[in-house]
Amino acid sequence: MLIGSTTQKQAGEVPPAASPAAPGMREDRTTHLETLYRLTDRLYRAAGMEAMLDAALDAISEGLGCEKCSILLFDGGGVMRFVAWRGLSEHYRRTLEGHSPWTADTLDPPPIFVGDIAQTEESDIVRQTILAEGIRSLAFIPITSQGRVIGKFMAYHSEANACGESCRALAVTIARQLGFSLERAKAERARLAALGELQESEQRFRLMAEHAPVMIWMCDAEGRCLHLNQMLRRFWNVADGDLASFDWRGSMHPGDVERVMGAMGGALQRREKVCVTGRYRNADGDYRTLETVAHPRFAADGSFMGLTGVNTDITERERAEKALRDSEERFRMVVEAAPSGMVMTDGAGRILMINGLAEKLFGYARGELDGRAIEVLVPLAARDLHPALRASHLAGAHNPVKGEVTGRRKDGREIPLEVGINPIVTSDGIRIIATVSDIAERKRTEAQRELLLAELNHRVKNTLAVVQGLAYQTFRKTDAGARRAFEGRLQALATAHDLLTRSHWESTSLDQLVGDTLRPAGANRARIEVSGPAIRLSPHAALTIALALHELFTNTLKYGALSSEEGKVLLTWRHLDCEGKLRITWREEGGPPVQPPRHRGFGSLLLERTLAKDLDGRVALAFEPAGVVCVIEMPIADPGGHACLG
């Protein structure tokens, strides 16, 4: 900077350079042109920076007639440094490096010529160094690039005022040439660097595409195959070198040719994106379904280069989807063909599926209930409570439940239903499957049956009452005892009938039968101890056993244990394991001593002969002194799952 500030100030004072008296000046125009011609030629041919600088130094020393000259350029830090020189000592360069009249962004400055260093006001060290190098006059010629200073060249002469007018013009021209060349060289370096990066990037992408786990291809504007990546070459088993002759269209499924070719042709013609699926035969001869997505490719000038596409093998996906569709279809068909109404809801009670039978049952059209809340099928009175009911059922164990409920049809009519509900857990969450059957008909039948049974019972008992009336009239005047005995038997029969009617003539619990038959015992009932497991009897067995118990009971009241204050009766029954038999034991205790009867009355007859025959069993009636014992053994249909231990 020091030298800059002083020399610039003096520049104006420098006398006109074109001094004809100056020695060593080359004013010869022809020589200057030759110098510039050589410089231009050498710069044009220069293979690198060094050759350019060398050519410039030659031009300077030859054209400006100086033995010493140098070229300096700003480095990255904005410091002017020697990059090439002639005839300068190392000391000189080291001492004066960095001195510059301009900074890196000075705009298009004029050159500076120092006619005599000895007459400047430069510091001593600068002047001494310059003079010691044998230099009297100096020329500072700026080298610019796009108007800005990038450096300078220096011409040094041993005599004062060595650079005349013509010499100055030449110096500026040489500097311009050099600046232009340096700029060109820099641009070239940048271009080469960019190109290198581009090539590396392309190489990277090429590698990626080559080894990508999808099939990638490129075609030209006419659809000819340019490139297939490794996966796609393997798919078709085509070598890289055979691409030119390879025609992928031959591998297409005949059924897809028209559609796929239409789509691809259209994309090429309209130069647009295409997405198409088709079946292609691979190297193994199997058809695979490939989904192709291709994008148009354009050159920098906008011309259409063809398509770049990616093929994805979706065979497995399609198969899985089809399997799922088929499975769903089958499921729907099963549901539709089910012989009862079926409804499936999600966990929130939304109807996901309902078969035609159920829709018809509730009076809705096909599909009308899809997506609706199940509550629409619930009677208004129960509707508000239903969601809570569902929730509590879901919160509990996911057990199937079955029961009779009332449903609401679309027309508002309420219908009796039997519903089976089974929650299942699927990958989509909880699903509730319900079967729904209209039981109106069954309800009517049941009611009718109840009515018929009641009527039958009424008639039977009316008939029994008529029979009783007959007996009443028959024995009235003769034998009151016989009449009462008969009435009692008739009562026992009527009681058993009642019980059978209540149980719909299906089966009767022995416990209940004993309770009903012994009801007339009144206060004496407490003296009959009854114990035994739960047993169900057929109607026939129940009537017979009721009569038998009545006989035993009336007998014990008259003659047996219950005829005295202390006596009691033990009535027990149990299964005889492994024999499918029931044993009922009537044992009297604590009564008056028993005398075997002189002749067997109707009671004994009924017990020992009729009963045994009726029950297909065995009856043992023993008049033991301690009390009457009666043991009845009979087969029963259902032994109640009792274990048969060896």
Partner: protein
């Protein structure tokens, strides 16, 4: 049955043999039988016209329900005992009805009447 002595009991029963038996049983127990009526029509006429202390009513008389007769008697405050072959009976009147099953013995009839005619009769009996 001293408490039944002289009581006027209406009998409605369409089955003649049963009617005769009930009549005999009641007479044996000392009461006076009104009827027996074999149809609802007859029964209604008696229920309205006669002096009656109690009634033994068949629930189903020739296929007709006894209810009109029961209502007429209830209006007069007459205690009633229903006899039926149906296991369980629901009566239109809704009043708590005393019911005995057919066939029934004299004892059962006496117990039924005692229950139907209630406290007054029993007190009388005790007296």
């Amino acid at each position: 049955m001293p408490w039944l002595k002289g009581k006027r009991i209406l009998v409605v029963e369409d089955e003649a043999l049963i009617a005769v038996m009930v009549e005999d049983m009641l007479i044996e127990m000392g009461s006076v039988v009104v009827g027996p009526a074999a149809t609802i029509e007859q029964a209604l006429a008696l229920a309205r016209a006669e002096q009656i202390d109690g009634a033994v009513l068949d629930v189903n008389v020739r296929g007709e329900r006894i209810d009109p007769v029961a209502d007429a008697l209830a209006a007069r405050g007459v205690p009633m005992l229903f006899a039926t072959g149906y296991g369980e009976v629901k009566l239109g009147s809704g009043a708590a009805a005393t019911v005995i099953d057919k066939p029934y013995t004299q004892d059962k009839l006496a117990r039924g009447l005692a229950a139907a005619m209630g406290g007054a009769a029993l007190r009388q009996s005790a007296g």
